[in-house]
């Protein structure tokens, strides 16, 4: 798991290689630490985690700005509200 600051207000969470529940748990914990308006780039390759993360963001109100998918790799950008 890699969590790092890419620029001011922009963070990266790399959970490639992890299966459930790690990607969704790390995403939840990362978003809890961000301030409103800050953005998280999320990289994961466990497809089922995407369903849970999308519902989780819907519940919390955090906004998924875009979702890219290529060869089993998912890159999402989420803005903390």
């Amino acid at each position: 798991m890699k969590f790092e600051k890419m620029s001011e207000g922009h963070y990266l969470l790399d959970v490639k290689g992890y299966v459930c529940p790690h990607p969704q748990l790390y995403t939840k914990k990362a978003l809890e630490r961000l301030k409103p308006g800050e953005m998280l780039e999320l990289q994961f390759d466990n497809p089922s985690s995407g369903e849970s993360i999308a519902t989780m963001c819907d519940n919390t109100g955090d906004e998924i700005l875009d979702r890219k998918q290529e060869a089993g790799l998912f890159v999402w950008h989420v803005r903390k509200t």
Binding site: F3, Y18, V19, P21, L25, Y26, R33, S52
Partner: protein, 474 residues
């Protein structure tokens, strides 16, 4: 991988399975029985991958991140399997038999629940993820399989842990000498304890038979599945879904929710994840039809188990002492994987036929002609085809950390499966759907185990995230 390549591999998998079905049927008619398993396994794999259908996440994601999608999906699958199963039962073509019910089912479910949290997926979930190219999930499947084969044959020092009452009861069952029931913890657990527990169904508890229309539809479907399932979803709705729904719905309307708002919220929760709901519906119907097709062929060939069919085809190695092999006639996971390893161990010189699990009940036929194995292999194939078509196939190697979780989780699921006489599919999904109360009991244990597993991983991920976050902001 380019789109053309992905389509080529998807086509190659389907073509291989078609070729196996056609060629083996041309060789001998009885292979049709195995092909039924194969094609239902393929459908299960496609549905599981399409719906990201993992029983582990049904409980785990509720506790971990407050997401009810999978709990809803599983209840949909159970409801449809139960409905189709009720039709099949009422026509007298069900292959299902209830399991003994007792405290052991809760303990088994608990161990299994902890295991599936550690492993990152249940037994069936790990299988479809293997089809997505996830080698971590493949490691889970290997761990489940090896653990089962070892666990069911542990004797020697473990015999000292067997209560005297179990040993006495087991010795009175009149098992064949080849089983040597006095040597083996699981043997004495099964013959001395589990077999002495009552076998129930909601239909029989209400005074009907499972094959009667009243018993199948009112007892097993309505009382055993539909009412408790709907009630469970009400609980899920109020604790995990209602607040978010009402926050959005009532922002522009009256402040106090009315009954119509509650019903709308309940329905919104059910259809929130269309993929999961569709997969649940398809899985449920397929699982019911699978029973119908298997039993139809048994009637056609005049057998009650695939063992005599294999014998007639000239395969007599690995049949149990009763002449049977593992042949549930419906969706099942774990036993056939244990048989792979049991067969290998036996070939390497470790006698696996002197225990009840293999020697008395399931046998260890060659994996190439093991009926339920055809289902598992095709399940991998179905999941791979679906992942390839949706550009979700990715070969993923385990890391040391994920490998450790996979091995521990798989081992716990293997032990839980054997104590509970099945996994999340055989001991929970199928039993609940067919009106067997022991399925609900196993499920209660699974929920408890999943809760403990989530608590552990909450602590583990919080610790790691706190460290990384502190390093990032300094």
């Amino acid at each position: 991988m380019s789109e053309a390549k992905r389509k080529f591999w998807a086509f190659a998998i389907v073509a291989t399975l078609v070729l196996i079905s056609v060629a083996t049927y041309a060789y001998h008619e009885f292979y049709l029985y195995l092909s039924v398993y194969l094609w239902f396994g393929f459908i299960y794999g496609m549905c599981l991958q399409y719906g990201r259908f993992c029983f582990s996440s049904a409980f785990r994601d509720l506790f971990a991140v407050g997401v009810p999608r999978m709990a809803v999906g599983i209840m949909i699958a159970i409801a449809f399997f139960a409905l189709v199963g009720a039709f099949v039962s009422a026509t007298g073509l069900s292959t299902f038999h209830s399991a003994p019910i007792g405290l052991h089912a809760v303990i088994a479910g608990f161990i299994f629940g902890v295991g599936m949290c550690f492993a990152g997926g249940c037994a069936s979930g790990s299988m479809y993820k293997t089809g997505e190219g996830n080698m971590n999930a493949a490691l889970v499947v290997v761990s489940i399989s090896v653990t089962q084969a070892v666990f069911v044959d542990i004797g020697g020092w473990a015999n000292a842990l067997v209560p005297a009452s179990w040993a006495k009861s087991a010795s009175e069952k009149g098992l064949p000498a080849s089983i040597n029931v006095a040597d083996g913890w699981v043997d004495q657990y099964l013959a001395g304890y589990v077999w002495d527990q009552p076998v129930l169904s909601f239909a029989t508890m209400l005074g009907w038979t499972d094959q009667s229309v009243m018993g199948a539809f009112l007892g097993n479907f309505l009382v055993g599945v539909a009412l408790p399932g709907a009630a469970l979803l009400v609980v899920v709705y109020f604790f995990w879904s209602r607040r978010t729904f009402m926050k959005k719905r009532l922002a522009a309307a009256s402040a106090r929710p009315r009954l119509t708002d509650e019903l709308a919220g309940y329905w919104a929760m059910v259809v929130a994840s269309k993929r999961t709901a569709i997969a649940g519906l398809a899985l449920g119907i397929a699982a019911g039809l699978h029973m119908y097709a298997s039993q139809g062929l048994r009637v056609k060939y005049g057998v009650r188990n695939a063992g005599p069919l294999l014998e007639r085809m000239g395969f007599d190695f690995g049949l149990s002492v009763n002449g049977t092999v593992f042949d549930p006639g419906y969706w099942y996971v774990t036993t056939q994987e244990a048989q792979w390893v049991g067969w290998v161990f036996h070939k390497l010189g470790w006698n696996q036929m002197d225990n009840i699990f293999f020697g008395f009940n399931n046998g260890i036929p060659n994996p190439l002609i093991n009926p339920a194995d055809w289902m598992s292999i095709a399940l991998f194939g179905g999941a791979a085809v679906m992942a390839l078509l949706h550009n979700e196939f990715k070969f993923k190697k385990p890391t040391l950390e994920t490998a450790i979780w996979a091995i521990i989780g798989g081992a716990l699921m293997g032990i839980g499966s054997r104590l509970g006489l099945g996994c999340n599919v055989g001991a929970f999904f199928v039993r609940v759907s067919q009106g067997d109360p022991s399925g609900w009991v196993f499920g209660i244990g699974m929920v408890g185990g999943a809760y403990l597993g989530v608590k552990f991983f909450n602590w583990w991920t919080e610790r790691r995230m706190a460290r990384q976050f502190a390093a990032t902001i300094t």
